[in-house]
Every structure is written in C-alpha cells, then in structure tokens.
Symmetry: C2
Subunit: 223 residues, 2 copies
C-alpha cells in the first residue's frame, strides 16, 4: 500500500545521512496531519491516530520517528504541538526558503500564483525566461529576468530552490544552469528525468505519469 508522497531523484547513489530518503519523504505528511490535529484542538495523538489518517501502519510512523529521537510518551502518545515543531525543525521548515522560477509561460504563471507555497515558507523571489519578449515584463509582483542573470540573482537573493517550468526540450539546459549557479534543490515540472550531480535533489511534478499508471488498473479493473 503506497502512500501519498512525491518522487525525489538525485544523481547516482547519494544519501547525505543514513536516514532512508523514503523516510524523509514521509515526514512532511506527518507535519501536515499534525497540523490537522492541532487545528482540531488535540493535545496528544497516538501513532494509531496519525496512521489512520494517512492510511499507514502505526509501526511505520513510530519507526520513522525513531530515526530522529524519542518524541512520545508510553501510554499517552505524542504531544501534537511538540512533535510538529520537532519535525519542522528536522525538515528545516522553521525558516523560510527563497526560490526562483524559470519559465513564465502559462504553467509558470500558474505556479507563481499558486497559493500553497507562501504559507509553508516558500517564497518565489525571482523569475527568469529565455524569451526576450517576456523579459522585463511583470508577472505577479516579479520582473522577468534573462537566464543569464540566474547566477547573480541566486547569490544576491539567497535563492536555494529552483522551480523549472519550461518545455521539455529546454529543461535539462535550464537545470544545468541552475546547478552551475549553486542550486541544490529543484522542483521540476518538465516531463524529463533530469541528469544532475549526486548532491542535487530533484522533485518531479508530473500529472501525466500519474494518469498513465492509473490507466493500467482501470483497464484491468473488474468494476
């Protein structure tokens, strides 16, 4: 039984710590479900309750948390606020992160106006495009800069994350530029398997892949 989580790629074999990356990818889910319990005025939750809302087993949640410490109390469960704060700290979500967007076409503009990033501490502070007709124009609150400005802007604005929303045939080139500029985390909307060095992470957003594997089950379904 798989669970809601994004797919993260890196270059050839690279795990910065000994915590399995599949565990790291589940932590944001725990943060999110803890926020739900916090909103519903729970003070304590058990691994059973957390698991129930995520369709996972309680053991998996406990095992995952055990990589980082002991956050619960036997017989009582976890303090919702404290566990949420600990996980946010572990994930680096106790601060904000600057990102830049490359590609301000239709998809890029939708990403800029996506309201889900800001409340989680992710700020898009620069936008780039290769199309000279777009350069200098305003998108949201941002002025569109040429790709050549990536290195300077990344340095000046302390940008750590690149968001790639360019056509497939330009995506690898853009990713290379971002990596050259020192970016180590890329949110990639282009339908390619990006080639990156081992110390760079790529999270791929690709609705078509999801649809294409679901049709297998639709086709073979018995009602």
């Amino acid at each position: 039984m798989a669970i809601l989580r994004p797919s993260i790629t890196t270059g050839p074999d690279h795990n910065i710590s000994d915590v399995p990356s599949v565990v790291i990818q589940r932590l944001p889910l725990y943060v999110r479900v803890l926020a739900y319990f916090e909103g519903n005025e729970y003070e304590m939750v058990s691994s059973e309750q957390l698991a129930g809302r995520l369709q996972m087993t309680p053991a998996q949640i406990r095992k995952d948390l055990s990589y980082f410490g002991k956050f619960g109390k036997q017989g009582r469960g976890y303090n919702v606020k404290r566990l949420a704060a600990e996980l946010r700290r572990i994930l680096g979500l106790d601060r904000s992160w600057n990102a830049c967007l490359v590609g301000v076409g239709r998809l890029g503009r939708a990403i800029i106006s996506y309201p889900g990033f800001q409340p989680e501490g992710f700020r898009v502070v620069a936008a780039f495009d290769a199309d000279s007709a777009l350069i200098g124009s305003e998108v949201g609150e941002l002025k569109v800069d040429p790709l050549g400005d990536i290195p300077v802007k990344v340095r000046r604005l302390n940008i750590r994350i690149g968001i790639v929303a360019v056509p497939a045939q330009h995506a690898q080139g853009v990713i290379d530029r971002l990596v050259d500029a020192g970016i180590r985390a890329i949110l990639n909307y282009a339908p390619i398997a990006a080639q990156v060095p081992p110390n760079v992470r790529v999270a791929n957003i690709d609705p078509v892949l999801g649809l294409q594997s679901m049709t297998y089950y639709l086709k073979n379904a018995r009602g």
Copy 2:
C-alpha cells in the same frame, strides 16, 4: 537512488494483479524515453541505453519488462517502436480516456488549459464546481456544472478519471462523490491523504511535499 515517478495510493491492501505497483509506475517512464529514441530515429535500443537516460540500472528495466513478456532479442536489444507499442497497450494508452475536473478555481483553470494531457490521450470532458456563481459559466470549452450532476455526466460521457482541484477542506467530500459515481482513478491536487476504498487509485500531485522534503537535504548540505 529513487527515480522520477508519481505516488499512487489506494485504500487498504489491494493489488489487482501480482505485478508490483512500483513496476507499473515505472512503465510510463519507459514509454516516454522510448518516444525520445523514436524521435531520434533509433530502431533498436538496449536496456543499457534506456537505463542511462533514466538513471536506473539495465537489470531493473529488463526485470520490469519480464513481468509482461519477452520483448527483446539477445544480442540486439529492443525494437523501439514495438516495445513502445507493447507498453502502451499494457498500460491502456492505446485508447483515449475521459476525465472530469472538479473545482474550476485558479488551479482548476490552469489544469484545463494544461497542454500535456491531450496529446497523451486524456480528455477533460466535464467540469464541476460547488460555487453557484461559477455554474453555467464557460471554462475553456466546457460549461461548469453543479456537483450534483457528477453521476449523470460520468455515466453519459463515459468518464473514468476524476481530477480534484478543490480546497483541502472540500476534497474528501468531492472524492467521495466521485467514487460513488463509479470513478476508480483520481488525480488529486488537494493536499490531503484521501480515504478511498481498495479498488480506487489516487495519484497525488503536491509540489509542497516535494519542497518540504528537499529542505531537509538543503539544511544538512555541506555545500
């Protein structure tokens, strides 16, 4: 080393066949990379060549394909066109699939105009919203219908896929309605872990989760 693939959820333990779902989720990647080789006029490719472009091992590709048959020739590799066609057939991509969109806010409208679905055979043929101010309006080429029309439209238009683009707090309710109407595959853009029966698949699209696990590595990076 993880690889580009979406996360697919179902209800409690359910694998329609004995092919691991992780394998099913990789097949669309193979289809895509085969299209690349086809575009570059390759007639044959080896598992080594395919693996290279996907940052996987050749053995994994061969093993994955072996669940479905013998598509290669020793000493020569795979015929690009034939393997692509076989995989498309296996995945059910040799036909088109109708989908409906629920939620025509900013995100929903971006999804409707997303150009990636159509060429892969996915057609959004109906749109629904709860907001009576939107009902009856035109979005793209579609008229927006009320949620109550879901069952009828799903039946009449042979809709097999639901795309959910409503706010988190309404998502579970919408998903329940889709499931009641007979939908068995859901592309979910809402940031929730949907609860569905075992025979329903959910592919989650959630850029924030991706960012939130990458920050772990950014925080702990050594340059």
